[in-house]
């Protein structure tokens, strides 16, 4: 075990894991996928989180099938109607139905969150696994790159980067992913550092496995828990960061809608009493972010052998 750096994280401490496995604990007998699933079912908060995510996904994707609204044509004669018959949550400054817009905006918020999480996870995992597996000078250099990015506040980097590009959906996804992969890369590297000396890696090497084969077939699957945890947090963070961008006027331009842009548009009317333009998108955005965090937290706990064994 490389004793050069303080091991802070919980699931990262290989000694603990070794001891538990030797005790014949659950770790040895149950696959990590099933372990995660079973602990999700046991954890009340995680179940609630999962339930919320399912409901919100259904609301955004099935909702428009049953609840038809005009989200294309600006109708100024319908602007800023308070909630009432025909418009359960009122209308906004362009005459769009707020409830219908929540569904539409939710689709792009969720899709963006997932897209960023996927891009982040793939790149961050490979980066971290490679650095940890290769070690030495290469690892040192690769980690200093991460440290450099981590030393600067995300918002500062984002403010600079957003000035560089036209904010299309793909650009925003790319930008958010470019700023989000650092965490997962560090975590995966930490895991790989402790895994690379294990027998199964040695065995694969002896059998002539290439570096990339060992990384992808053996090391990455063993880090799946850490990877899933950080992916769920990334979804939540991406949705939040997009909303901050919208607030700073650097988000996706209209007619695009997402919860963040609805929220920051609505804030302009907060002091005029048009509460239905602010609180519905705020509540659904916050609820979604909370739900993803609860799921991530529960999986994190389930991977922490010390917490579980008590």
């Amino acid at each position: 075990m490389p004793a050069s750096e303080p091991v802070l994280g919980t699931a990262e401490n290989p000694e603990i894991t070794d001891a538990d496995t030797a005790d014949g604990g659950e770790v040895a007998t149950i696959g990590s996928g099933r372990l995660i699933l079973s602990s999700l079912v046991r954890n009340r908060l995680a179940l609630v989180g999962l339930g919320i995510v399912v409901v919100i996904v259904l609301f955004c994707y099935l909702g428009p099938v049953f609840y038809h609204t005009n989200q294309v044509k600006v109708q100024l004669n319908l602007e800023e109607l308070p909630p009432g018959s025909g418009h359960p949550l009122g209308t906004d400054a362009s005459g769009y139905d707020v409830l219908g817009r929540l569904m539409l905006g939710g689709q792009s918020s969720l899709e963006l969150g997932f897209a960023v999480a996927i891009a982040t996870t793939v790149f961050g995992t490979l980066y971290g696994a490679f650095a940890g597996f290769v070690g030495g000078v290469v690892d040192g250099l690769m980690m200093r790159v991460i440290d450099t990015f981590l030393a600067l506040p995300t918002i500062v980097l984002l403010l600079i980067l957003v000035n560089l590009v036209t904010p299309t959906l793909w650009m925003i996804i790319l930008l958010l992913a470019a700023l989000s992969w650092l965490g997962v890369a560090r975590l995966v590297r930490g895991e790989v550092l402790s895994l690379r000396t294990r027998e199964f890696v040695e065995a694969s090497k002896v059998m002539g496995g290439t570096n990339w084969r060992i990384i992808i077939r053996h090391l990455v699957p063993n880090c799946i828990g850490v990877i899933i945890v950080s992916a769920t947090f990334t979804i939540a963070d991406a949705i939040l960061m997009l909303s901050t961008l919208s607030f700073l006027g650097l988000g996706l331009p209209p007619p695009h809608a997402d919860w963040g842009s609805m929220m920051s548009d609505g804030l302009n009317y907060l002091y005029d009493g048009y509460w239905w333009l602010v609180y519905p998108p705020a509540i659904i955005l916050i609820t979604t972010v909370v739900a993803f965090n609860m799921i991530g937290d529960a999986i994190h706990d389930s991977l922490d052998t010390r917490v579980r064994s008590r």
């Binding site: 004793a3 030393a151 560089l164 002091y271 955005l285 609820t287 909370v290 008590r310």
Partner: protein
């Protein structure tokens, strides 16, 4: 220990150089010229050419970078394009003002978050723990800007209790002239960072509770209060030192948004205004200062951690 220190300092230097390269590359990729941003859209090509040559913008990028590094070493961060003042003056003016905001809010949030985390760990999975967890999650999930605007809507607009704007001032005394105006910005940053800190403290205290020395303390018949405050608190607070180092950029990030909303004249507002007017020297300067401060903070945190926790011995392998 010495080997570790040397290596750690070496890493810090590498990261500082990385920060400089990174900000330099990014800022020089910004489209639209600095000359236009400063001189206005009606500037003649002649004036733009003069501006570019005076500010060294015609030199090759590599040379501009080395000139910049040389200047930084001499404490010269350039002159702001839009404010016509040395960047170092602007930053030294703003830093103490930022301490008035960041100091109290960080201390307050730690004072609240640490006991809260210990309570949660001691009563794990109780209704109290779950309630605090949910509240922390909600606070964490609130976009910074929304939370600040919500506080303004409640305390400034509805109740008319507190001002929503900090006085326009360029000194600490000026900021303190209206203490009531500081309440909302400090409250915003405090509540936002409680969420994160209390989560870390909870998991750190859970780790501590599982240790043998806690079992020994309990077996000796110590009251739960004593066990929690004397043994759990002290041991679980150690990792928070590292977290505090790592949280520095996040605190600054929160400050950018909060300062923008409350019009608080700190580094965050300085950076925000520079970013919207493409004021390169200010952007470079403040990003550099924040980056270097973070790197130093992490370095100090790591060293403090190794000194405070005798279990950690940095063997040189």
């Amino acid at each position: 220990m010495t080997t570790y220190l040397l290596r750690r300092v070496g890493q810090a230097i590498a990261v500082v150089i990385g920060v400089m390269v990174l900000t330099f590359i990014m800022i020089h990729m910004v489209p639209g010229s600095a000359a236009r941003a400063t001189l206005g859209l009606k500037a003649t090509p002649g004036r733009i050419a003069i501006f570019n040559s005076v500010n060294g913008l015609n030199e090759p990028l590599i040379e501009q970078f080395f000139t910049y590094v040389k200047q930084v070493m001499h404490g010269n961060l350039g002159t702001s394009y839009s404010l016509q003042q040395p960047v170092s003056t602007l930053i030294t003016q703003r830093l103490p003002i930022d301490l008035v905001l960041l100091g109290p809010s960080t201390v307050l949030s730690l004072l609240i978050a640490l006991p809260l985390g210990i309570y949660q760990a001691a009563r794990r999975n109780s209704i109290g723990d779950n309630t605090v967890t949910v509240v922390a999650f909600i606070l964490y999930a609130m976009p910074d800007f929304f939370f600040a605007m919500l506080l303004i809507a409640i305390f400034s607009v509805q109740l008319n209790l507190l001002p929503s704007d900090v006085p326009e001032a360029s000194s600490v005394a000026g900021i303190l002239s209206d203490p009531k105006a500081l309440v909302l910005p400090i409250l915003t940053l405090t509540l936002l960072s409680i969420a994160g800190f209390s989560r870390y403290m909870r998991s750190s205290a859970i780790d501590a509770l599982a240790q043998d020395y806690i079992r020994v303390a309990k077996a000796k018949g110590l009251s739960e209060r004593l066990v929690l405050f004397r043994h759990v608190a002290r041991n679980s607070m150690l990792p928070i030192i590292t977290i505090l180092g790592l949280a520095a950029p996040g605190i600054v990030a929160g400050a950018v948004i909060a300062e923008e909303i409350f019009n608080y004249p700190g580094m965050g507002l300085l950076f925000f205004k520079a970013a919207t007017s493409q004021d390169f020297p200010v952007m470079l300067g403040s990003t550099l200062v924040v980056g270097v401060a973070t790197v130093l903070g992490n370095l100090v945190a790591d060293i403090a951690y190794s000194l405070l926790d005798p279990r950690i011995r940095y063997a040189s392998e």
